[in-house]
C-alpha cells in the first residue's frame, strides 16, 4: 500500500501569547513576549522568578463537576482539542471512531496536583489527599479526557520524552495515518509546570535564564551572546491530522500537510545534546519527506536560549543544510512563548504551519548581538514576509537525548 498523505485540518492552542490561533500568531508576528514575572505561591522564594504563564480561567470553559477532576494541564489539553476539532469542521469523525485516536505529549503531567498534594501532606499535615488526586496527576489524563470527550476508540497514547514529547506524539500519529491504520488523529501536547515545586526542581538544573534587569519580558534570548538560559512556559497545542482523501471528501479546509518526521537518540549524555543526534533527526525527517535539504524554506528551531542547545543546533543545521544554511531563515519562537517542555514541539509546529499559511516568518526576539558560534539567519529584525514559502521544519530536542523533527508543507503547494 502506498504511503497515504496526511493533512492538518484543525488547530487549537492555549499559550502565553493567547488562547486561540489568531491571537497566538498575531503576537508572534508582532514580536510580542509572553514572558513575565511569575505570581505563584511561594514565588518570593524562587531565584528564577520569570516564566511564560497563560491567562486561563478553567471555570469559563468547564462546568464545576468536570473542572474538579481536571489538573491545569488537562484543562489546557481539552480546551486546545476542542478548538482543534471545532476548527476542523463537520464530519470529522463520522461513524469511524475506531479509526480515530489521540496522541499527546507531556513532560511533567499533572504537576500542580502533585505539588498541591505534597504541600498538603508534608507542610500542612493533612492526613489524606483529595479523591481525584491520582486521576488528575497521571500523565495521560489529558489524552484520556480528549478521547472520552469525542468517543475516540483508536489508540490513545501519551509520549513523555521531555522537551520533544509532543513532536514525537505528532510524528507517531502521522505514521499511523500514513500507514493506513488510522484516518484521524488528534495530536499535540500540554504542559503546566509553573508551580513552586516544579520551578524549584528546574532551578536546580541551572539552565534557567536570569531575569533581564531592564525588562523581564526580554529574558529569553536564543542565539544571543548575552543569553543566560531557557524560560519555562505553559500551555497546549493540538492538531487534527487527517488522511488526505478523508479530508477532501468532507470538504475540509486543509491548513497544511505533514510530510516528514525524523526521530533519533543521542545516547550520549542525559542533558548535553550532540550535533550528530540532532543532525540525524533532521536528515531522517527530510528523507521521510522525500525532499532535498534545499527545499526547506524556514526552520522553527528548538532554540532554547541555553549555552548548550543553541550552538549545537546551529552546527547541526550547518551539517545537514551545508551551503543552503546561509540562505535559510531560522527562528526561535521560544523567545516569545517560552519553553513549553512537553508541549513545545506541538506549539512550535502550529507556529510553523501558520507561518507557511500566512507567508510570514516569526522572528527571534531579544537577539541584538549573536553569539559568534551561532551564525545563521535568525530573523532577528522582526517578522519577515515569505511569499511562496512552501516547506518548513520544526525541531524539538530533549533531555534524555530524544530528537524529533517534523516537516510540513503549505496547503497552497500541496493541492
Amino acid at each position: 500500500m502506498a504511503a497515504r498523505r496526511v493533512a492538518v485540518t484543525g488547530l487549537g492552542v492555549v499559550s502565553p501569547l493567547g488562547n486561540d490561533e489568531a491571537s497566538f500568531f498575531e503576537a508572534l508576528q508582532a514580536g510580542r513576549s509572553g514572558v513575565r514575572r511569575l505570581e505563584v505561591a511561594f514565588s518570593e522564594r524562587l531565584s528564577n522568578r520569570i516564566g511564560a504563564s497563560v491567562d486561563f480561567d478553567g471555570a469559563a470553559h468547564f462546568p464545576p463537576p468536570k473542572l474538579r477532576m481536571l489538573d491545569r494541564v488537562s484543562q489546557f489539553a481539552l480546551f486546545a482539542a476542542q478548538q482543534a476539532v471545532s476548527s476542523a469542521g463537520p464530519g470529522l469523525f463520522d461513524n469511524e471512531r475506531e479509526r480515530a485516536g489521540v496522541f499527546l505529549g507531556t513532560g511533567m503531567g499533572g504537576a500542580q496536583t502533585t505539588d498541591d498534594g505534597y504541600r498538603a501532606l508534608y507542610a500542612d499535615g493533612a492526613s489524606r489527599l483529595p479523591p481525584f488526586s491520582v486521576l488528575m496527576a497521571m500523565n495521560h489524563a489529558g489524552a484520556a479526557w480528549i478521547g472520552l470527550e469525542y468517543g475516540l476508540q483508536g489508540p490513545n497514547l501519551t509520549y513523555s520524552t521531555a522537551c520533544s514529547s509532543s513532536a514525537v506524539a505528532i510524528g507517531e500519529a502521522w505514521r499511523r495515518i500514513r500507514c493506513g491504520e488510522m484516518d484521524v488523529m488528534l495530536a499535540g501536547g500540554s504542559e503546566a509546570p509553573l508551580n513552586f515545586g516544579t520551578l524549584k526542581a528546574w532551578e536546580a538544573l541551572k539552565t534557567l535564564a536570569a531575569e533581564d534587569s531592564n525588562d523581564p519580558a526580554a529574558s529569553c534570548k536564543p542565539f544571543a551572546l548575552d543569553r543566560s538560559g531557557m524560560v519555562l512556559g505553559e500551555g497546549a497545542a493540538v492538531l487534527v491530522l487527517e488522511e488526505w482523501e478523508h479530508a477532501q471528501r468532507r470538504g475540509a479546509r486543509i491548513r497544511g500537510e505533514l510530510i516528514g518526521y525524523g526521530l533519533s537518540t543521542d545516547a550520549s549524555h542525559m542533558t548535553h545534546p550532540t550535533v550528530e543526534g540532532q543532525a540525524r533527526a533532521m536528515a531522517l525527517a527530510l528523507e521521510s519527506a522525500g525532499i532535498n535539504a534545499s527545499a526547506i524554506d524556514y526552520i522553527n528551531a528548538h532554540g532554547t536560549g541555553t549555552a548548550a542547545n543553541d550552538v549545537t543546533e546551529t552546527r547541526a543545521i550547518r551539517d545537514v543544510f551545508a551551503a543552503h544554511a546561509d540562505r535559510l531563515p531560522v527562528s526561535s519562537t521560544k523567545s516569545m512563548h517560552g519553553h513549553l517542555l512537553g508541549a513545545a514541539g506541538a506549539l512550535e509546529m502550529l507556529a510553523t504551519l501558520l507561518a507557511l499559511e500566512r507567508e510570514t516568518l516569526p522572528p527571534t526576539i531579544n537577539l541584538r548581538v549573536a553569539d559568534p558560534a551561532c551564525d545563521l539567519d535568525y530573523i532577528s529584525e522582526g517578522a519577515r514576509d515569505a511569499l511562496g514559502a512552501a516547506v518548513a521544519m520544526s525541531n524539538a530536542f530533549a533531555f534524555g537525548g530524544t530528537n524529533a523533527v517534523l516537516v510540513c508543507r503549505s496547503a497552497k503547494c500541496s493541492l
Binding site: 462546568p63 464545576p64 463537576p65 474538579r68 483529595p130 479523591p131 481525584f132 486521576l135
Partner: protein, 95 residues
C-alpha cells in the same frame, strides 16, 4: 439512635454538597432522588463520601455499591456516625 433526628440533618448536608458541587437547585433534591438522575457516577460518589467524611468526622473503608438515592447516602453516613459513637461509648469506661 433515633433515625428521625439525625437523618434530617445528614440529608441536609448531602443536599448542600450536591447542590454546590453539581450546580443543582437544592430544593429539587429529596431523599428519594436517584444518584443516577443527577449524573453522579462512581467517581462523583467517592468525592461526595469524601466530603461527608470530613463533615461528620467518620471514615468509610470502602464506598458501598448499593447507594441508589440521596437518602441512602445519608443513611450510610448515619450508620458510620452511629458506629463511631458506639465505639467511643465502649472505650469510655476504661478511659
Amino acid at each position: 439512635m433515633s433515625a428521625s433526628t439525625t437523618e434530617g440533618q445528614t440529608f441536609a448536608v448531602v443536599r448542600e454538597l450536591i447542590a454546590k458541587d453539581h450546580a443543582i437547585a437544592p430544593e429539587t433534591l429529596t431523599p428519594d432522588t436517584p444518584l443516577q438522575s443527577l449524573d453522579i457516577d462512581s467517581l462523583s460518589l467517592i468525592e461526595l463520601i469524601f466530603n461527608l467524611e470530613d463533615r461528620f468526622d467518620v471514615v468509610a473503608d470502602k464506598v458501598p455499591e448499593n447507594l441508589p438515592t440521596l437518602g441512602s447516602v445519608a443513611d450510610y453516613i448515619d450508620s458510620l456516625v452511629a458506629a463511631r459513637t458506639a465505639a467511643a461509648g465502649d472505650a469510655a469506661p476504661s478511659a
